[in-house]
């Protein structure tokens, strides 16, 4: 390429393009936008996406869902261990084995946490949590330094 020619070309084309100014937007765009905004405002919260729900309802629905799931796991666990089962109930209890497993795993985890709190004491637990967070922050920091010092200059050299 001829750098002098390229420069002239850039200037000449740039001058033509800069002279264009703004295009006129079709007048109905503003009306369209306002209509959509009105429609969205008129839509009740339960017909919007979950992200658009009020915060209190988001929290309540999340808690409700978690409680329902816990209840399902508990029910499944009880059903799997029930002694007197009809053939139909026995078949259903087979499907519930996964829920039983989840319930047992959650129980074990909760018991382990309670035991740890009782035996280690809150100071050790809080210290461990702080160390865990500090380690995470250190990893993120080291990763950022590595990216800025090593990867970005390499990308710039390649380009």
């Amino acid at each position: 390429m001829n750098p002098e020619y390229e420069k002239q070309l850039e200037v000449a084309v740039g001058r033509e393009l800069k002279s264009l100014g703004e295009l006129e937007a079709p007048p109905e765009i503003a009306r369209r936008v306002m209509r959509v905004i009105e429609q969205r405002a008129a839509t009740p919260w339960y017909r919007r996406g979950w992200q658009a729900w009020p915060l209190a309802l988001q929290c309540a629905s999340l808690a409700g869902l978690l409680a329902a799931f816990a209840l399902l796991c508990f029910g499944g666990s009880q059903l799997a261990h029930s002694a007197a089962l009809t053939p139909a109930a026995r078949e259903i209890s087979g499907w519930c084995s996964l829920l039983d497993t989840i319930w047992n795993a959650a129980n074990v985890l909760a018991n382990a946490l309670v035991l740890a709190f009782r035996n280690l004491g809150p100071a050790v637990i809080i210290g461990s949590a702080v160390m865990l967070l500090a380690s995470y922050a250190l990893c993120v920091g080291l990763g950022t330094v590595y990216w800025r010092l090593a990867c970005v200059p390499l990308k710039e050299r390649q380009s």
Binding site: N2, V13, E22, I29, V33, M34, I37
Partner: protein
């Protein structure tokens, strides 16, 4: 003035800028209208922060640019491929795609408004692979490196595509340069 009225005022003040950004990147009016609408709907969601912000214009332009590029990204692999494969032989064909006044005297005697319409038309007829980096360079004032990063293509490809786009515009608009080498059209 209610919230909705304030937003409508903001929209009317910036709609031409947002629409121009989308239209020049997409070269398709219905798509540009959709992007403009989506840009303002996003602005409405953050209207509390944008209302008194001095950077609202820049924010709108960035969102319109990004939405337009997202829209185009569906076709990006296709146009990158064609741009690299066909090279300069394509631009000669592209030069014939646009219907422009044939004689130099006609383009010289056009008034300013007609001339702008001609440039706008020539820009919109460029293939996306050339038009998009050209628009980002000349209208958004992005550097070659920033364009390459935004489009996810190499710096060399951006430079080549912009050069080809300028060459196509020069031929279509019959721009005369002082230093015009014979190999210019094929030097990429």
């Amino acid at each position: 003035m209610t919230n909705a009225q304030q937003f409508e005022t903001l929209m009317r003040n910036h709609q031409n800028m947002v629409f121009s950004t989308a239209m020049r990147l997409l070269a398709n009016q219905p798509d540009a209208e959709d992007v403009t609408q989506e840009t303002f709907l996003r602005a409405y969601e953050r209207f509390e922060q944008l209302r008194d912000s001095p950077t609202v214009s820049g924010w709108l332009k960035t969102v319109a640019t990004n939405l337009s590029l997202n829209h185009l990204s569906r076709y990006r692999s296709r146009w990158s491929f064609f741009s690299e494969l066909l090279g300069s032989s394509r631009e000669e064909n592209e030069g014939r795609e646009v219907e422009f006044p044939a004689s130099e005297t006609v383009t010289e005697t056009l008034d300013a408004a007609d001339r702008r319409a001609l440039v706008e038309q020539a820009l919109q007829k460029l293939p996306a692979a050339q038009r998009v980096p050209l628009v980002l360079f000349h209208f958004e004032d992005l550097a070659y490196e920033e364009i390459a990063a935004k489009l996810g293509v190499s710096l060399g490809k951006v430079k080549t595509d912009i050069f080809r786009g300028r060459e196509a515009l020069r031929r279509q608009l019959q721009l005369r340069l002082m230093d015009e080498p014979a190999e210019a059209a094929t030097s990429t």
